[in-house]
Symmetry: C2
Subunit: 237 residues, 2 copies
């Protein structure tokens, strides 16, 4: 089986494999936050592409997480910080969620064999999920407005490394080689490696960098949010 | 000034900067071959996107280089090996040229402030050209059928490294960081680093790997092919 890493939603047509599991990743912070919310007992997350859709749900009485350009939208109950989604607030609840880049990637990948969301906090669980399904894997990095970013690529490299080391997977293309090299070179000090990146600068400028160490913690939850489509609506369980 | 690296033509809209110099790169082998041809005295190269266009020029009596999936097209005078374009064959001549990925990237970038082609064999000359024009720089990697490849990214990293070290440039985004890291980590042994890549495998399978060491030789020509548009036709000088 093969694992490949697609560095941006804009590249997805070149890496698309309808029979593969697609692992959508947005380390800072959508998919980290999703894994945290499920770990804290959320029942389902409905990813929507636009702020307008999220606002319409809010007006109908839903709990809504909404972020644009790293900041919480005014009307929303939650922003994009994993710390917003406490057990007290989310356990047993259904949530609507929209973020700048993460929900777009989920929408793009929806026709794959399976779509799950991955983050460092559920890395091992995602790897186990892939091995259990015995399928090719495409890691779809959310990037930033279609540009490549380091943190999502790095997660891709971590998953390549885990799956290749099972002996069951081989790297699908140069992208997987690049990502794995980046991971093996920098895994001992992720925080230092990511300090000069664009998104860390963006979070710091908005005083939202308190969650960065959490976003880089490995495998603290075994929940793997999985996409389903029910009555034409995307739903993560 | 900023230098950024666009890993694939499919990402170009996200990195597009109409005021920048775009350096199109296709190390194996289109832009290496172009630099070699100019070094050997070719007068101009007319890049065309399709085999059909190239064949039409051939029927009108032009000298034509044409490659698809690493192999020379039957009708063409030259393939995509830099060794095909000897001084005896090309000095003073005008040539039509189409390749799987390289000419597509040139076509995409044509509206930038300037478009030049870069390769390891003219690396320093390209860096000097950029500094001389005092402009932002976008390295546009040709990739392989829109997938990211290592060799073009590596060239991007080499140019980032040279320009940032002048003190005049800073890295435009995470892509530039990724490419520069790849270059600084592997520059001492490019041949070993590239041995397991997709395109080297592709060239070897077609017994076309004789030009690989040449393609990885640094700065042996000072020619920088530059794009112009004359009577709606693309032309490299």
């Amino acid at each position: 089986m093969k694992i490949d890493v697609c560095f941006s939603p804009a590249l997805y047509p070149a890496y698309h494999d309808p029979e593969a599991i697609v692992v959508v990743v947005d380390i800072f912070r959508a998919t980290t936050t999703m894994a945290a919310a499920f770990s804290n007992g959320v029942r389902s997350i409905r990813p929507v592409a636009t702020v307008e859709e999220a606002q319409a749900y809010k007006e109908k009485g839903w709990l809504v997480g909404a972020e644009r350009n790293v900041r919480r939208c005014d009307f929303a109950d939650f922003g994009n910080s994993p710390f917003d989604y406490t057990p007290e607030k989310v356990a047993g609840k259904e949530i609507v969620f929209t973020t700048t880049n993460g929900t777009k990637a989920i929408t793009i990948a929806q026709s794959a064999y399976r779509v799950v969301t991955g983050a460092f906090i559920n890395l091992q669980a995602v790897a186990d999920y892939c091995v259990g399904h015995k399928r090719n894997v495409v890691v779809l990095c959310s990037g930033w407005q279609d540009k490549v970013n380091i943190e999502d690529t790095l997660f891709g490299g971590a998953l390549v490394d885990l799956l290749v080391n099972t002996g069951l997977y081989e790297k699908g293309s140069d992208s997987a080689v690049i990502a794995q090299d980046m991971w093996t070179t920098n895994k001992e000090d992720l925080l230092r490696y990511l300090a000069p990146t664009d998104h860390v600068a963006r979070l710091k400028a908005n005083h939202l960098d308190d969650s960065i160490p959490y976003c880089l913690t490995l495998s603290i939850t075994d929940r793997v949010p999985e996409l389903s489509i029910e009555e034409e609506t995307l739903l993560l369980h």
